[in-house]
Amino acid sequence: MNHPVTEADVEEFRAEVRAWLAENVPAEPLPPWTEREGFDLHRAWEGRLFEGGYAAVDWPAEYGGRDAGLRRSMAFAEEYYRAGAPERINMGGLYLLGPVLMQYGTPEQCARWIPDLLACRTIWCQGFSEPGSGSDLASLRTRAERDGDHFVVNGQKIWTSMGGFADWIFALVRTDPEAGRKRKHDGITFLCIDLRSPGVEVRPLAMVDGTRGFAEVFFTDVRVPVENVVGEIDRGWAVAMSTLGFERGAVFGDHAKFSNDVADLAALVDARDLGEDTHALDELGRVLVQTEVYRANVYRLAARAEAGGELDSTASINKVFWTQMQHDIFDTGIRLLAEDGAAVGDPGSLPDADPATLRAWSQWHHRYWYARAAMIFGGTNEIQRNIISERVLGLPMEPRR
């Protein structure tokens, strides 16, 4: 953001993006990425985005981005969602690992990992959560013991997204248990691990709806070169925390996704002939209002970020809001079309719907469960409320035993 971005710059970029998307977005939606076939198609799409120069428009040009700045990046996201383009499958790599490498990585690490990441030749997953440490992330127990110029890793990670298809994992491991006993955030290291290494076992994790978007990863005496450490050994907590703001906050532009979801809901209400039911109107209006409010907030945060302000204090507010809104959108759909609520997605319940609406309906339940999951992952909404009450409102900490 060295030169000021004008409204005209944004609109010019928007027009360029829109034209490219109009030409390139697949006419038929891709099959879900949770199965191999769909995943490969999504990966191919990411390659096409990369070739078009749109893999990460907000990234600095030196790393292969477009230096688009915030407002053009938002315009990109808005156009992307409006065009109905495929779901992005490498967000973890692009928005969690990428910024970490740019900030903490060595030039060698950046050169080694970033180009493949950007082109989606390498899929990365996040290895933070463990079965025993969810909200209390720092209580993690996966061990990495030094052996010459390697670490030997033993332990288990869970909730690694795209885990079943990922090539690499960026994980938090405990390298100094002694230090951790005094202060649990100490003695943790941020380590990148090739999932093809001997001793790694990846087990796709079936979810409540039978899909497998996450995985568990088991490490048994996995040897990892020391040069795969990002940042300082034993100081990985700060490295990891620098990613969490992104996970909690919106990736700017996602308001357009939620507006799409509400448009889908409106189409369902229409297909079910509920357009004159005042209750249905109230409920549809309720979630529509939420998306408008959310959009206003995204623009506010963007203005603040452009002015160089920090967003940490608002990331929790934003996360509680959008996860609740997303839940409300999909829950409302289930409740309003509830005569067949026991068979959500069944095309027989919407005999006159157009294909796009039927497609939305067929995915409704899956999206409902993922909306529920969003209230847990990336710091449960309970943790966010602790943060808001203490850091934003200044209320006292709870006593500890």
Binding site: L205, M207, I334, A338, A342, V344, E382
Partner: protein, 343 residues
């Protein structure tokens, strides 16, 4: 307040018997096997329910049953909900048995003894309450109850049954088209109305039981799961969420059981509709809070919470949604009050 406290001695024993049976023959392994092989109803479990006399409870003694009144079964239904039993108990043993018991004739003579013996699955179609018919694909006979009182029976070969992808795989649903002529069973709008009331109140009992299980699983989990060096269930925000849920589940249980007991009271229909509507609310709350309080593990297929999450959602959408029932009740109240106030 436990279910135990809500029931009298007789019914308590029946519930204990049911719980015991289901604990042995309808455990998690059994339910998982049913999901894996895509069959909810199995002759095996149905026979066990029949052998203990639960299926024939409402059938008259001369037709092989125990001749009990429905009120005896409210706790049993609650238990079936707690165990997520994948069987058409409400449909066959309660609704069909009641309809046929009230409409004597050749159809009843043929089918009641079969029901009592556990040899037949009979389901009911109740107008707008059943746009999708539970267990229709398993049915030997379907009773179609029209609002005007006409009751006709259709054998399996007289039906076109199209299964739909039910949210709850342990409670299959189907669209049904009556393809054959069927047989007249009777014509009695009081019987149809009473069956409707029984369906609402019975679904409320099943639903309250499913919600109770969601609460129980959640309380067990948060009491054990530790984060930040203490049980999650010792955090006040978690405790209060569980407490609010407990209020709803307990009240839903009180309303459901009493409505089922009161089917023959003058205000029985109102109480049944209110109980089902509220049980649907409580189930929705149980669904949201149970999953949120479990955290990630609740989303896994491996953990069993989802069995009850789906049962609760499916039942809430069956036999009248909360929204539809509320509207009917409100209209009835408006008519009553307007009549009184305007003289």
């Amino acid at each position: 307040m436990t279910l135990h406290d809500t029931l009298d001695q007789d019914r308590r024993e029946l519930v204990e018997l049911t719980d015991d049976l289901l604990g042995r023959h309808c455990d998690l392994d059994f339910l998982r096997a049913r999901i894996d092989d895509g069959t909810a109803h199995t002759p095996g479990l149905w026979s066990r329910l029949a052998e203990t006399g639960l299926v024939s409870a409402l059938v008259a003694e001369e037709q092989g049953g125990a001749g009990l009144s429905p009120a005896h079964l409210s706790g049993v239904l609650h238990s079936l909900g707690r165990h997520a039993v994948p069987e058409p108990y409400l449909e066959t043993a309660v609704l069909a048995a009641t309809v046929l018991g009230a409409l004597p004739g050749p159809v009843a003579d043929t089918w009641l003894p079969r029901i009592a013996a556990g040899d037949a699955i009979v389901v009911v179609r109740l107008g707008e309450l059943t746009p999708l018919v539970p267990y229709a694909a398993d049915a030997d006979l379907l009773l179609d109850l029209a609002d005007d009182g006409a009751v006709r029976a259709f054998t399996a070969d007289e039906l076109e049954v199209t299964p739909v992808a039910a949210l709850d795989p342990l409670r299959p649903l189907a669209r049904v088209v009556l393809a054959g002529a069927g047989t007249e069973v009777g014509d009695d709008s009081a019987v149809v109305a009473r069956t409707r009331t029984l369906a609402l109140a019975g679904a409320a009992c099943l639903l309250a039981g499913a919600s109770q299980r969601l609460l129980d699983l959640t309380v067990e989990y948060v009491a054990v799961r530790e984060q930040f060096g203490r049980p999650v269930g010792s955090f006040q925000a978690v405790k209060h969420k569980a407490a609010d849920l407990a209020v709803m589940v307990d009240m839903a249980t009180a309303a459901a059981l009493s409505a089922f007991d009161a089917v023959d009271e003058p205000d029985g229909p109102r109480r049944a509709a209110a109980a089902k509507a509220y049980a649907g609310d409580a189930a929705a709350r149980a669904n949201v809070d149970a999953l949120q309080l479990h955290g990630g593990i609740g989303f896994t297929w491996e953990y069993h919470l989802h069995i009850w999450l789906k049962r609760a959602m499916g039942l809430a959408a069956s036999y009248g949604t909360t929204t539809a029932l509320r509207r009917d009740l409100a209209r009835e109240l408006l008519a009553r009050v307007a009549g009184e106030r305007r003289g």
